[in-house]
Amino acid sequence: MTETIANLMHGFSVALAPHMLMYCLIGATIGMGIGVLPGVGALATISILLPFTFKLDPTGGMIMLAGIFYGAQYGGSVASILLNLPGTASTAVTALDGYPMTQQGRAGVALFVTTIVSFIGGSIAIVVMVVLAPLVASVASQFGSTEYFAVMALALVAAATLSPGSPLNGVAMVVFGLLLGTVGADATTGFYRFAFGRMELVDGLNLIAVVMGLFGISEILVNLVTGGQSRTIRARITLRSMLPTREDTRRIIGPTMRGTLVGVVTGILPGLGPQVASFVSYATEKKLSRHPEEFGHGAIEGVAAPEASNNASVQAAFIPTLTLGIPGDAVMAVMMGALMLHGILPGPGLITNQPDLFWGLVASFWVGNVILLALNIPLIGIWLQILRVPYHMLYPVVLMLISTGVYSIRNSGFDVGIALFFGLVGYGMTLLRLPAAPLLLGLVLGPLVEEHLRRAMIIGRGDLMIFAESPISLISLTGAAALVLLMARAGLRTRERIDNPPDKKIC
């Protein structure tokens, strides 16, 4: 315990160094500024801003990225509360009750509650992370290829089947992602696969280019095609109007705590992320509430629970990402990709090998949360101004940021072409209601899955029973199989599928 505290103190000494503090501040501010733009989700924001962190050292870069990430996350909530324009599936839940609150003239309260509750959820999850991450890492250091393969398989199956929307589509996209992950030189034999004679593809698809395409360019296309999102904001927000009443405060305490719990649990489990967390916690509150009819019409619990849960889950999701190298959702996959671009391979050794990075990052999470808390409340007026920027002035500039950003990663115009290609693919996928997040997860984990599977097969001399010998791999694989079966059963029973995400308005 004392060791943990000492480590944490060390972390704070890293994160509170003036230049680190500055990176965090800049990241949070810019992330917020871009994330708040209508129709630009957290993931798009991160991918647009990612190249800016490359010139920094790994710790600084990650701290800045974490700041960007928080800012983007929060910015998305602001856009969904004020304009009903959520950028991601998890903020779509917030919009369910947040936007009605705006219509009732209680936007200030909604924003304030979001800020506070996110802070609380995030802080609790950070504590959990501090305690749990080293434990997970020490267990994980015993992992062999068999266990890795099994846990990754579980993560992929969970991501595919439990994400909102049709599970079948989810699975198809994970497999598509895995297939894309095989592009490039084969790690074991050096054989070129799917390179189509282009040297640029030998190293595999550039992750950032794919992300920018799937989440940046395709979002722009969707917005352009569906056309006019020029809604005016009537909300006028003064500091006074932001304070929740005593009644509000009483009503948010329970949801916040339960939301945090749901968030922490979903965050730690591989393959689940903030999306699932916000949906589950929203549904829980609706069930527990004494006045469920208020949900969807501006119930404050409906804002507090998903926001707390979402932030807690995001925080907790760093545990598997950093200690196992297995990201739980698309955002974590990008964060992990960014780490690898900085030359750091997340895994059980990360905490011991890179204590500055790990503990500095943990501390900066908290610092980032504090900065947001301090930044949001006074600056709400500015965010409102940004929301008023008309979309047609905005998207060409975003396109420029994307193209130049992708170019700058490897100074390659070819990568911009890749981004464009995946922009078109992503647009097509949105039309077909195919989720993009599982694809990304498959792409990131693909090479790892292949490597570990092959190694496990070599160790087991081709005998599949090797996966049944270790308890962890047995449990994981059984879990994965159970999920598939459950999904198949649910799919057969209810042919009527509920296609959740109305977050992209397709008319």
Partner: protein
């Protein structure tokens, strides 16, 4: 319409399935097989699904595509400034709300600011202006 698009996706999958190579192609083969199966399942689901695909307008997609392609082509030849102005002007035509003068101003201003940021601050090796002599 739905079916046609799904079929397109399908044929794409099959294309990959048959292209796989032996040896290191073991997993790609498995993936492609799965993809084909899943594509088929989704296709079957789509038969029952009578929801229509949302109609799509071609111009926004096309103009963004052309804008980005021209940026890729122009950047090494005409420099960042010209390429970015072109990118913004072409892509701006996708939205009906854009008017010529503001778009031009936006293009020039963001090309200059973007250039300063990426080339000067981040040191991305791109020429700002067109280069004479080569």
């Amino acid at each position: 319409m739905t079916v046609a698009l799904f079929a397109l996706l399908e044929s794409f999958d099959y294309g990959f399935g048959t292209l796989t190579r032996p040896g290191p192609g073991f997993l790609p083969m498995v993936y492609s097989g799965l993809m084909a199966l899943l594509g088929l399942a989704i296709l079957l689901g789509a038969w029952r699904d009578d929801r229509r695909l949302p109609g799509t307008r071609v111009w926004p997609v096309l103009s963004v595509t052309v804008a980005l392609l021209s940026w890729i082509w122009l950047v090494p030849r005409a420099g960042f400034f010209v390429a970015t102005v072109t990118l913004i002007v072409i892509s701006a035509t996708a939205h009906t709300g854009s008017r010529p003068l503001p778009v031009l101003i936006l293009a020039v201003v963001s090309a200059i600011l973007g250039g300063l940021l990426f080339i000067w601050v981040f040191g991305v090796p791109l020429p700002m202006w067109w280069q004479f002599g080569d």
